[in-house]
């Protein structure tokens, strides 16, 4: 256990240094904020343009629904990228994977540690995006003090599920070429479409709704929105689930995904070693 903790700490420190030491701290803070805020502004302009056109009207509830969902989606992009890119960056970019891999540490824990700094930066970006929305864009957030513990627990469980999914992807990327950007764009894209992040599941076709209901993150987004913005009144189609049911579902999912992540990671590792792909480079 002590080795795991030490590995996690050192990997987290390494991840933080790699993420941030290329520039001055103030520039890094600006950099960390500009990207997610610009992402939110794409949605603001999509809404503005729609509302501006003849025949349409302002729809603050739909806007708040979308804005809150998008703010928390920052976690999805960062945590997933933060985990699965470790293998590819160590392998293709820094070409240090053989040394780290040979070290007497758990490579799984090392990846989780490397992702930790991304989680912290993402939390900061989520906070800034939400505050910006409330102050300047009239986003309807009314979280009560009593909801805070539930919110913290659901966020922790959601992040655990995300980390486990990221490790699963890492296991797959042991075997694939340099597809970091495709994965970084595509996998979060699945959650962006099917998890009711920006629009209620009812917009999707029936099969799409079924896919959405099978992904635990859908429930995470729903409970987060319920706790943060209980008054927006957009039917997410998940009203039949109580808060505690969703929490239980997230708990079970996080355990299941942890098991799955260990399985996929080990399988990816085994086949990569067998095929001699652990330290391959695919540069074209």
């Amino acid at each position: 256990m002590n080795t795991f903790w030490r590995t996690f700490k050192v990997a987290a420190w390494l991840g933080w240094e790699m993420d941030s030491n290329w520039t001055e701290p103030w520039l890094f803070i600006v950099y960390s904020v500009v990207k997610p805020v610009a992402g939110a502004f794409i949605l603001v302009l999509m809404y503005t343009v729609f509302a501006f056109l003849p025949g349409n009207r302002q729809d603050l509830a739909a806007f708040s629904y979308m804005y809150v969902g998008n703010s928390f989606f920052i976690f999805v992009g960062s945590v997933l990228f933060g985990t699965f890119q470790v293998i590819q960056s160590d392998r293709e970019w820094y070409q240090t994977i053989r040394y780290v891999y040979m070290a007497p540490i758990s490579y799984y824990v090392y990846i989780v540690g490397r992702a930790a700094s991304k989680v912290v930066v993402a939390a900061f970006a989520v906070l800034i995006t939400l505050v910006f929305g409330v102050v300047f864009l009239n986003v309807q957030i009314h979280m009560t003090l009593g909801s805070v513990p539930l919110f913290l627990v659901s966020t922790a469980l959601g992040l655990a599920v995300l980390l486990a999914i990221g490790i699963c992807l890492g296991g797959v990327s042991f075997l694939t070429a340099k597809h970091t950007h495709g994965l970084a764009e595509g996998i979060p894209g699945i959650f962006y479409v099917f998890c009711g992040v920006l629009f209620p599941l009812s917009v999707l076709p029936v099969w799409g709704q079924a896919v959405g209901r099978a992904i635990p993150l859908t429930y995470w987004f729903d409970i987060t929105r319920r706790l943060l913005a209980p008054t927006i009144g957009v039917d997410s189609t998940l009203v039949g689930y109580s808060d505690l049911t969703i929490l239980l579902l997230l708990f079970v999912s996080s355990i299941a995904f942890f098991g799955l992540s260990v399985l996929i990671f080990k399988a990816g590792e085994y086949f990569a070693r067998k095929a001699g792909k652990i330290d391959m480079t695919t540069s074209y």
Binding site: V34, L45, F50, G55, R57, H179, H181, F199
Partner: protein, 309 residues
């Protein structure tokens, strides 16, 4: 003069050499990608989901607006606007593919080459650096076309987008001039990587969402000019990226100038084509000079081949 010097001064020889360099650098991109077919799934099909999300946002807005009205004229207007906005997203999605290719496979490619030790080999080779970047651009365009075409096909067959192309020649002209300008900008950025390391890599990362926003990849960019105060400022800044005018012109050519009541366009198509032409020439010239300047600077500071900066 030595025969080698005479040969190097021969224009025909130099053109041939540089064309061979273009083919040589584009070859591994096209062939290498085909040897690793998993990229079709990861780079061409998976990213379609992100675009689908933006399509569903407009569909969701449209559905809510339709639910709140019974006036047939308003219903028709809402449906027409929603369809035009979805078409705007699909076109933006095709351009996203090229922009990301410019950022990650053009601009930052020299960084990768430096990291894996190829850059010094390129520097020693007798061809022009622009030919090297030109080869990257050609190979990148071929690879990216797969994603762009699959986005268009998905837009037409999955989301039922209707494009009305009245002037196909103009459409092709705008598209190719916009791409030339875009890749010219990429070549200019590439020179930064000769000198910088992770700073430039992070700069590329920073030029994703903020550029998608300021260039109107997912909404008609004229919408920015309707936002009082900061809107026009962001719109003007975004116009320095050729994708802004390229997308605006492509949208006018495929949706008709009367779409959105004709209120969300910046200039007419012809003016935008002239601006794009100007940008294409300017960025290619600037790229040539900035490459030469930054190469010298990088050599002087000893950073040209230093890895893991």
């Amino acid at each position: 003069m030595k025969p080698a010097t005479v040969r190097r001064a021969d224009l025909r020889y130099r053109i041939g050499l540089n064309l061979r360099a273009v083919v040589g650098r584009s070859y591994p991109r096209i062939v290498g990608a085909n040897r690793e077919p998993s990229w079709i799934f990861f780079e061409a099909l998976l990213p379609l989901l992100g675009i689908a999300a933006y399509v569903f946002i407009y569909q969701s807005f449209g559905a809510r607006a339709l639910a709140a009205t019974t006036d047939p004229a308003k219903i028709a207007a809402i449906q027409a606007n929603t369809n035009a906005l979805i078409a705007s997203v699909v076109l933006g999605g095709t351009m996203v593919a090229f922009w990301l290719n410019v950022l990650w496979s053009m601009a930052s490619q020299l960084y990768w080459e430096k990291e894996i030790g190829n850059l010094q080999l390129y520097m020693m080779a007798p061809m022009n650096r622009m030919a090297l970047l030109g080869g990257m651009a050609v190979g990148g365009m071929v690879m990216t076309s797969m994603r762009a075409v699959s986005t268009l096909i998905a837009g037409i067959f999955v989301f039922g987008v209707l494009f009305q192309v009245a002037d196909p020649l103009m459409l092709l002209a705008v598209f190719f001039v916009a791409l030339t300008a875009l890749y010219g900008l990429g070549m200019m950025f590439a020179s930064l990587y000769l000198l910088w390391g992770r700073e430039a890599w992070n700069l590329s990362a920073l030029m994703e969402e903020p550029i998608f926003f300021s260039s109107g990849f997912y909404f008609p960019v004229g919408g920015l000019f309707k936002v009082p105060g900061w809107g026009p400022v962001v719109g003007i800044l975004g116009s320095f990226v050729p994708a802004t005018f390229g997308l605006d012109a492509l949208r006018q050519l495929t949706l008709g100038t009367t779409a959105f009541g004709g209120q969300l366009w910046i200039f007419d198509v012809r003016t935008e084509l002239y601006i794009l032409l100007f940008m294409a020439v300017l960025f290619l010239i600037l790229a040539r000079y900035s490459l030469a300047y930054l190469e010298t600077l990088a050599k002087r500071e000893g950073k040209l081949t230093s890895r893991h900066q």
